[in-house]
Amino acid sequence: MPQTQTKGKTFATDTAVDFVIIGSGIAGGSVARELTSRGFDVLVLEQGREVPPEDMEHDEIGAFMSSRWTNPPETSPQTFRKTPDAKAEKRQYLQYARVVGGTTFHFTGNFWRLRPIDFNEFSKHGAVAGADVADWPITYEELEPYYTAVEEAMGVSGEISTAPGEPRHSKPYPLPPLDVTGPGVLLEVGAKKLGWSSKAAPMAILSRPYKGRQPCHNCGFCLAFPCEWGAKSGSNWTMIPDALKSGRCEVRSNSYVRKIETDDSGRVTGVIYFDKDKTEVMQKAKAVVLSANGAETPRLLLMSKSNRFPDGLANSSGMVGKHLMFNGNVVANGLFEHEVHGHKGPVVTRITQEHYVPDPSLGFFGGGGIDMRFDVPALIRTLGMPVDGPEWGSEWKTRMRNWFTHSAAAYGHTTSLPVATNSVSLDPDLKDAWGLPAIRTTFKDHEHDIRLYKFFQDRAKELLGAAGAQKVYADPIPDEPGSAVHLLGTARMGNDPKSSVVDKFHRAHDVKNLFIVDGSSFVTSGRGQPTMTIQTLAFRAADHIAQFAKRREI
C-alpha cells in the first residue's frame, strides 16, 4: 500500500525545498499550482489520505455519520465552550475534510465573489460594540484580476448579473450556468413575485467539458460527497493535478505536521511531521506556506512555540486563533404541489442577493444571500424531515415519500461578526491520537448575528411562500450553536503587526519566510460563501510570494 501519491517529484527531507506548503485544500493546492508554474519546487504536506475515484461512493453513512472524509472524533477529538469562563466539553464542533483536496474534496461548489463593501465595512458602517470590525488591507479592485484568473482556472459556471450592487467582472464566466433544477426554478418564481433580484448561481462545477474534465452529470450526490466524475472543481481535481503536471511538485499525503521549526534568528527552517506510521520526520524548507484551514492553521502556530516565540509562532499580536467566524446559515423548508425532484442535479443553481446589504435601520450588521436547494440525498433528507404528525407507520411513510419528491429548502448564508473571544485554542487537557493538544473552540454568536439570522430565516420563509409552498417549516434559530464548516478569521490580515498576524501579502509579520494563506486570513467574514475568496487570496499571495522569491526578499 503506497503511503503517498507517487506522481510528480520526490524531495529529500534533508535538502531544503523551495517551499513546503502545509495543506492540499483549495488554498494550499492553488499556491502549489501558482508557485510551480513560476518555476519553484514545492512540497505539499497533507495530513489526510489520497482518495482514488473508485472510492468516491454515494455513501451517506460515510459522508454524514462516520467521518469517512472528515476529521474523525476517534483520533482527532475536539472540545467546545460558549464563553472563555466555561469549561470546554468534548464535542466535534469544527468540521473539515481530511483528504487530498481538503474540504473542496466534498464541498457544494458555491463560488460567490465578495463585493467591494465586504472589504471596507468598518469605513462604511463603523464599529460594532463587542466586535472587532476592521477594513481589509486590500480592496475588491486589487483582487478582481485574481478572481477572474480563478474562474478561468477552475471553469466556474455562471452568468454575470446586471442587478444593482453586483461587483465589476473584467471577463465573463468561462462556462454557462448549470442546468437549472426544480429548486432553482422555485427560487426564480418566488423572487419574481417578491420583486427580488436573482441570478444563476456561480458554481465551481463544470457545465461543459473543460480542460480535459467531464461536465456535471447531475447525479445529485454533491454536498458532502466527492465527485467521481471530476466535474466538481475541488483542489484534488484541479489545482493539485496542475501542480503535479509541472514536474516540480510532490504531494506527500498522510503527513501530519506537528511543528514549524525556527532557528535562533527567527527564520523558519522546516517542519516536523508524523508520517502514516506516526514516525517523526523533519523536512527542511527555505520557506513555508501554511494553508491548513481556519482551525488547523492557528492550532499549528500555537503548537510551534519556542523560546523565541513563547506564545506560539507568528503570535506577537496575540491574534492567532482569535476572531473565529463561520458565516451564519439559516434554513426553512417548503412542500410543493408538484414534483420538485431536487435530489437530481447540483445542490444550487439560482440565488438571490437582494438582501446583501440590508437597511442599517433594521439594527444589525452585515447581510447575505439565499439559495433554494435540496441539499442531501435519501437517508439524511429523510432523517431531517420536520415533525408534522405521526413519526412512524403507514401515514409517516406516505409523508416521507412526498417529502422526498415534493420539498425544497431555502438557505440563507450570511455575515458573522469577528469577536475576539470566539476562538480556536489548544485544549489544556485533551490530546489527539498523536499526543498533540486537541482543538478547543470558544464560540457564541454576537447579538447582531442572531438578529441577522432571524431576518434571513424570515426572508427564506417568505421566498418559499412566494414560490407557492403549501407548507413552510422552520426550526427556531438555536441559541446554542451547531457545528461549523466555514472556518475564518483566526490569523487575520492587516497592516498593523500589533493587531494582525499577516500583512497584506500573507507574510507573517513576525517571520520573514512564513506565509499564511487560507480562510484564517479573513478580516471580516463576507456574506455567505468564502471558498472562492480563499482561493483568490491564494492566487494573489502566490503571485507576490514568487516576486519576493525572485527578488530574494524571503
Binding site: E54, Q95, G328, L379, V485
Partner: protein, 215 residues
C-alpha cells in the same frame, strides 16, 4: 457557515429522537468499515464512467442476533416502515443492516445490550398483555402498534426507528436497502447520471408558464 447538514443539528432538536443521531453515529461507525474491496474504475464505457463499489448487495445473513431476535426486530421495523402498496422494512432487509452494524468492531457491539434489553422488555410487555405464549411478532398490527406507542419515547425505540430508516435508505453494502428497494420507494435512483428536466417545475413548458421564460 454553520453546518448545513440536517444530521445532528436538525435531528437532535427534535424531542422525539433526542440524542439518537449521536447514538447512530457511534454504532454506525463500525459498520462503515466496508467489507467490499473497491472495484476498479471502468473507463471502457463512456469515457470515464465511474463504477464505485456502492452498487453491491451484501449477502444477507445473521451473525449478531439469533433468528428469534431477528424475527422480533423485523416485526418492529415493519411497523415503523410497513409494507403497504410499496415495499417496507422487511423487503429492504433492514434487520440485516442492524445485525451487520452490531457485529463489526467493538463500537457497534456496544449497542448490543440496548437492543437486547429493548427486545426483552418488549417481549415481557407482549406476554403480560396478550398471554404468556405471545411474542411481539405474533400479535396483530394493531396490538403491535399499541405496544410500540407505549415505548416510543424510549432510547430503544428511538434507536430502532433510526436504524430502520438507515437500513431502508443507506447503501446496500451496509446490509439493508436490498437491491435499492428503499430508494425506489422514495424515488431516489441508483445512478451516476440524471438528465433534465428533473421534475415538474423545471420542465420548459412549466418554466414558461411560471416565469414567462426558460432559464
Amino acid at each position: 457557515m454553520k453546518n448545513p447538514m440536517p444530521d445532528e443539528s436538525t435531528v437532535s432538536r427534535r424531542e422525539f429522537v433526542t440524542g439518537l443521531t449521536a447514538l447512530g453515529a457511534v454504532w454506525l461507525t463500525a459498520a462503515a468499515c466496508a467489507k467490499e474491496a473497491p472495484k476498479a474504475v471502468d473507463s471502457s464505457a463512456s469515457g470515464i464512467m465511474p463504477m464505485a463499489n456502492d452498487s453491491t448487495s451484501v449477502p444477507q445473513a445473521l451473525t449478531h442476533f439469533t433468528a428469534e431476535q431477528a424475527a422480533e426486530l423485523e416485526a418492529i421495523a415493519s411497523r415503523i416502515i410497513p409494507t403497504d402498496d410499496t415495499p417496507g422494512a422487511k423487503e429492504a432487509g433492514v434487520v440485516y443492516f442492524i445485525d451487520q452494524a452490531m457485529q463489526t468492531g467493538g463500537v457497534a457491539a456496544d449497542q448490543g445490550p440496548l437492543f437486547a434489553a429493548g427486545l426483552e422488555s418488549l417481549a415481557k410487555a407482549a406476554a403480560k398483555q396478550h398471554g404468556a405464549t405471545s411474542k411481539f411478532s405474533t400479535l396483530s398490527a394493531e396490538q403491535q402498534d399499541t405496544l410500540l406507542k407505549a415505548i416510543e419515547k424510549t432510547p430503544f425505540f428511538g434507536a430502532m426507528r433510526f436504524a430502520t430508516i438507515a437500513g431502508f435508505l443507506a447503501l446496500p453494502k451496509y446490509g439493508g436497502n436490498k437491491d435499492f428497494v428503499g430508494w425506489k420507494v422514495i424515488g431516489q435512483e441508483h445512478t451516476y447520471e440524471q438528465k433534465p428536466p428533473f421534475g415538474w417545475y423545471d420542465q420548459p413548458d412549466n418554466q414558461k408558464a411560471l416565469l414567462g421564460r426558460v432559464l
